[in-house]
Symmetry: C2
Subunit: 530 residues, 2 copies
C-alpha cells in the first residue's frame, strides 16, 4: 500500500481538469500548497524501547525497527491520518513492528509486552479510518512505547469444510488473497467492503466490517461461527455450533473488540459456492425517501439482492465513483444499484420479483449500465480521495445506522450538522449520502463530505465530525455501523453504551488485559476521572 | 399451570390402554406406586426471611409468602423437577415471591436483596428444564434465602413500530398473550417453542429460546434488536440499530444470561405481518442421514420453509406427538415436516421449489396429512409426559447442535451414551431424535428418551444425562442449542467456554452483581476452589 495514501501507487490518477474546475467553482477548492513529502523526509520519533525490551520481543518473533517499517505502521487511513502523514508527521509511529507467525507466538508477544509495560497495537491491513491504530498514552505505567503486532505472516487458509460450508482463516489474510484461496476450491466469502484490496480477515472480525454485498452474504460478524483469540491472560476458543443457548454469546464480545481485548488468531467463517452469475442493475427513484421505502420493502418482504444501495440526490448527481461525470446534468432523482448473485435461474427469478416490488414502489428501471458502472468503480473511492487531496480538496466519510422509522430524522440531522459546521469554518461542503446495508428493522447511512481544505482541515474536520457524532446520538443512531470505534468515536461510544455498559467493557478488559497493554485508549471508555 | 405438571389440567389425558401395553412390553414400564400428592401435602420448608427482610421487600413490590405461591415457584419443568414435586418435595421453594410492576420496582427489589444478602431468581413462565430456577446455595454470605422475582405484572405491549416492524414487549408477557396483542394489530412474532403456552418473552430472551418456526422467523435472540435490563448496579439500555460496529454486541451478553447478570425488563423484537397462508406437509426419507442432507440443501441454498424438522427412524416410528399411533406398523424411514408461511403466492412458489430440492435428495412426498397432524399436536408433548409419568414411565429430552459435518458423529455418540447408561441401570430406553433448527453451517439435535422409571429415576437420569453431556462435549457439540445452561449444564458449560471464557463470565457477573444475589449457581461457572 502507498505509505501516504491508498493502495497501489500505479493506479493513482490525477483528477480531470474539468473536475478541478468544478471543485474550484462549487466549493472554492484551491490547489494545495505542497505535495506529500518524500518517504525519507517523514519525521519518525526516536524508538522508546530499550535494548532489554527489544531482546525480549526478539525472543518471541521477528522485530523491525527501521524507519520505513515504522512509518508504514503509523495510524490508519482516515483523511486526517493521510493529511498528517503527507505532511511528514509520523509522531504516532510504533516504536517497533513485531511479526509473529503462530497463535503461540502471538501469546508470547502479548505476555512479553504485558511483563514489560509495552503497549501492543494489532495490525492487519492498516485501513482503520477511526483512529484504531493510534493508541493514546501507552500502557498504564509504561514508557508510552508501543509495538505494531503485524499479522501478515499468519495468512493461511487452515481448513475448508465443504459439507458445513465453513473455512478456517488466519487473521493476516488480505481479502483478495482469502478470495483467491477459496476460489481455487470453488468458494467465496462474499465480503467486499471498500477496503477490500488491503484489509485483512482479522480486521474484518475485530471491527465488525460490513461489505457491499451484505444483503446477500451478511456482515462479517454474521459470517463468523467460531474464533480463537490470544490475550495476555491466555486463549479464548469459542464456537462449537452455528448458534447456541449455552449462555451469552462470547464470540460477540471478541467481534468488535478492535484489539483491545486480545488478538484474533483464527476465524471460522461461512463460505458460499462461487455464484454462477452476477448481475447488477440500476433503478431511479424520485426522492431518497421514496427509494428508501422501496429498499425497506425488499429488506422486509424480499426478494433481497446480494447488493442493495441507494444514493441520495446529491450523491446520485455527483456519481462519486465516476469522477468524469462529476456535476454532469440530468442527475435528478436517486440512483439505486441492485446486484443479484447465484445460479442463473435464481438470479432471473429474483430480479423479476424485485422488479415488480420496485416498480410498485415508484422505481424506474435504468438497466444494467448504472449497475455495471458501480461495480467497475466499487473500490475506487479511496484512490479518488488521494487525487482530491492532491488537488487541494478535503474528502471524508462517516456512517451510522438506526431503525427505519428513525432514518429520515437521522439523515437530516447529520447532514445539517456537517453542513453547518464546515460552512461555519469557511469551507462549505458538498454532503452526499447512501444507504448500503439493510435489515428488516433498519438500515445504515453512509455520508461522504467534500470541501475545500481551508487553512486547517484536520481541526475543521474534527469539529464537523464531532457535530455529526452529537447529531447521531441525539437522533438515536449508533455511532458506527461498520467503521468501528477506535479512538475517534470512543467518547460517543461511551454514551451509547451507557455508564454500566462502559463499566462492563472495562471489567472485560481488566480480566483479559490487566496490564492494559492492548491498544490503550482504543474502544474501551475510561472510568470517570481516568 | 398445573403445579405438579404441565399446563391446563383440563387438557391432561391418560394414555390409551394400547400404549400402556406397549410401554410394558417394550420397555418394561410398570404402573407407578403412587399418584402425585395433593397440593396441601407438599412439604414447604420454613421461610428463612426475617421480618426486616420482608419489610424491606414489601417496600419495593408486593410480596407473597403463602405455601401455594411458594410451591408454584419451585424449580422448573424438567422431568426430575416434576418427579420431586409430585412426591411432595418442595425443598427448593423460594422463601417468598415478589411481584414488581415496573423497571424501577425491579431495580428496587434487586438493590434491597443485594443490601440484605437475599438471592433473587427471576421467574417468567417457570418452564426451565435445566434447573434455571433452583439456585445453589443462596447469595454469598447470606442465609441461603431467596425470592422468586415473578414478572407476571409486567405484561404489556409497550409500543409497536409498523415501519421498522418492531414491538417493545415487557418480560412477563406469556407467548400466547404477546401473540394476541400483536395479532390485534396484524402482526406475529413467529416464536412457537414447545413451551409456548406458558413461557414468557423475558424467559425467551434470557435463555435464548428457539421456536418451531425458527427457520422462517429466526431464533428469539435473532428477533431482539434492543433490550433493557435491571441489575443491582443499575440499568443496561442496549440497541440503537439492527446491527452496529460500535464495539462488542453487549445485547449478546444479556441474551442467554439466565437471570445471573440482571433482569430483562423490556425487549424490542422484530415482528412480521400475520401470514396470509400457512401450509404444512410431510416428506419421507429412507434414512436420517439422507433426510439430514436434504435439510442441509434447503438451509444452504433455499428455499427455507418457516418450519423444517426431521425425525430419525425411532421418532418417526413412534410418532411421538400422536400417542394413538405409538408402535403402529409401516413406520419405515424418516418423516420430515415442512411448514410454509407467507402470502399465498410466496407459499406456492417456495413449496414448489422445495419439492424439487427434496425430490432430488431422495424424498418422497406424503402430502398435507402428516404436516397437519404435526401442527395439531405441536404443543402436546409436555402433556403426554405427564401421562407417561402417571403410567410409570420416565420421559425426558435433551438437545445440542453442531456443524453439519459433525452431526452424524454427535448423533451416534449421544444415542449410545443414553442407551448404555439407562440400560446399565436396568431401564433400557427408547431413544428418539429429531432435527428442528437448521442453519447454513449446522443444525440442532433434539433427543427424547422414554424408559421405565425404575427404582430411582432422578438418579438414573442424572447419570444418563451426565453421560450424554460428556458425549456432546467429546463430539464437538454445544451443551445446549435452546434449553440453556441453568444449574444442570453448568459444569459442562464451563468446559465449553474454557477457563478464560468462564473467567470472563465471572468478571461480568462481579461487575453487575457484586453481592452475588442473582440466581446463584445458575449459568456462571465457579472459580477453581469455589
Amino acid at each position: 500500500m502507498l505509505w501516504s495514501g491508498w493502495g497501489d501507487p500505479a493506479r493513482a490518477e490525477p483528477l480531470p481538469e474539468a473536475v478541478v474546475g468544478l471543485l474550484r467553482d462549487l466549493l472554492g477548492v484551491r490547489p494545495a500548497g505542497a505535495p506529500p513529502v518524500a518517504l525519507a523526509e517523514v519525521r519518525v520519533p526516536p524508538c522508546r524501547l530499550d535494548p532489554a525490551d527489544l531482546d525480549a520481543l526478539a525472543a518471541t518473533a521477528p522485530v523491525r525497527t527501521d524507519a520505513e517499517s515504522r512509518v508504514r505502521h503509523t495510524r490508519g487511513r482516515s483523511t486526517s491520518d493521510l493529511l498528517r502523514i503527507r505532511a511528514g508527521d509520523a509522531s504516532d509511529a510504533p516504536d517497533a513492528v513485531v511479526l509473529p507467525g503462530t497463535h503461540d507466538e502471538v501469546l508470547a508477544v502479548l505476555r512479553a509486552c504485558a511483563a514489560r509495560g509495552v503497549a501492543v497495537v494489532p495490525f492487519g491491513g492498516g485501513t482503520s479510518v477511526v483512529g484504531g491504530l493510534a493508541p493514546r498514552g501507552g500502557a498504564s505505567g509504561g514508557s508510552g512505547a508501543f509495538v505494531a503486532l503485524d499479522l501478515r505472516r499468519m495468512n493461511a487458509l487452515l481448513a475448508l469444510d465443504g459439507t458445513s460450508r465453513t473455512a478456517v482463516l488466519q487473521p493476516g489474510l488480505r481479502a483478495p488473497d482469502a478470495e483467491a484461496l477459496l476460489a481455487a476450491r470453488g468458494y467465496t466469502l462474499g465480503h467486499f467492503p471498500q477496503s477490500y484490496e488491503w484489509a485483512t480477515v482479522g480486521g474484518f472480525a475485530a471491527a465488525r466490517s460490513s461489505g457491499q454485498a451484505s444483503a446477500g452474504y451478511g456482515r462479517f460478524d454474521d459470517m463468523v461461527v467460531a474464533l480463537t483469540a490470544a490475550t495476555p491472560e491466555g486463549t479464548l476458543d469459542l464456537g462449537r455450533a452455528p448458534r447456541s443457548a449455552a449462555g451469552p454469546d462470547l464470540r460477540q464480545l471478541v467481534l468488535g473488540s478492535e484489539g483491545a481485548f486480545g488478538v484474533i488468531t483464527s476465524v471460522t467463517v461461512r463460505i458460499h459456492p462461487v455464484p454462477e452469475e452476477r448481475s447488477y442493475e440500476g433503478w431511479r427513484f424520485a426522492s431518497f425517501d421514496e427509494g428508501a421505502a422501496a429498499l425497506r420493502h425488499l429488506a422486509q418482504d424480499g426478494p433481497l439482492p446480494a447488493v442493495l444501495r441507494l444514493g441520495d440526490e446529491a450523491e446520485t448527481m455527483v456519481g462519486l465513483a465516476d469522477p468524469a461525470r462529476l456535476g454532469a446534468p440530468g442527475g435528478a432523482g436517486c440512483l439505486a444499484v441492485l446486484g443479484f448473485e447465484g445460479t442463473a435461474a435464481d438470479v432471473a427469478a429474483r430480479r423479476g420479483r424485485a422488479a415488480r416490488v420496485l416498480a410498485r414502489a415508484g422505481g424506474e428501471p435504468l438497466g444494467a449500465a448504472p449497475g455495471e458502472r458501480w461495480e467497475r468503480g466499487r473500490f475506487d473511492a479511496p484512490y479518488l480521495r488521494d487525487a482530491l487531496l492532491d488537488a487541494g480538496a478535503f474528502a471524508e466519510t462517516l456512517e451510522t445506522a438506526t431503525f427505519w422509522s428513525g432514518l429520515p430524522g437521522l439523515y437530516g440531522a447529520v447532514r445539517r450538522a456537517l453542513t453547518d459546521s464546515l460552512a461555519g469554518a469557511g469551507t462549505p461542503p458538498l454532503v452526499m449520502c447512501h444507504i448500503s446495508h439493510v435489515y428488516p428493522s433498519g438500515a445504515s447511512l453512509y455520508f461522504t463530505v467534500v470541501s475545500a481544505q481551508g487553512d486547517d482541515p484536520v481541526a475543521h474536520w474534527a469539529r464537523a465530525k464531532g457535530a455529526a457524532c452529537e447529531a447521531i446520538l441525539a437522533a438515536g443512531g449508533t455511532i458506527s455501523h461498520h467503521h468501528g470505534v477506535g479512538t475517534d468515536h470512543r467518547d460517543w461510544y461511551a454514551r451509547e453504551a451507557g455508564p454500566l455498559g462502559a463499566a462492563l467493557l472495562r471489567a472485560v478488559k481488566e480480566r483479559l488485559d490487566p496490564a492494559g497493554v492492548l491498544n490503550p485508549g482504543v474502544l474501551v471508555p475510561p472510568a470517570a476521572g481516568e
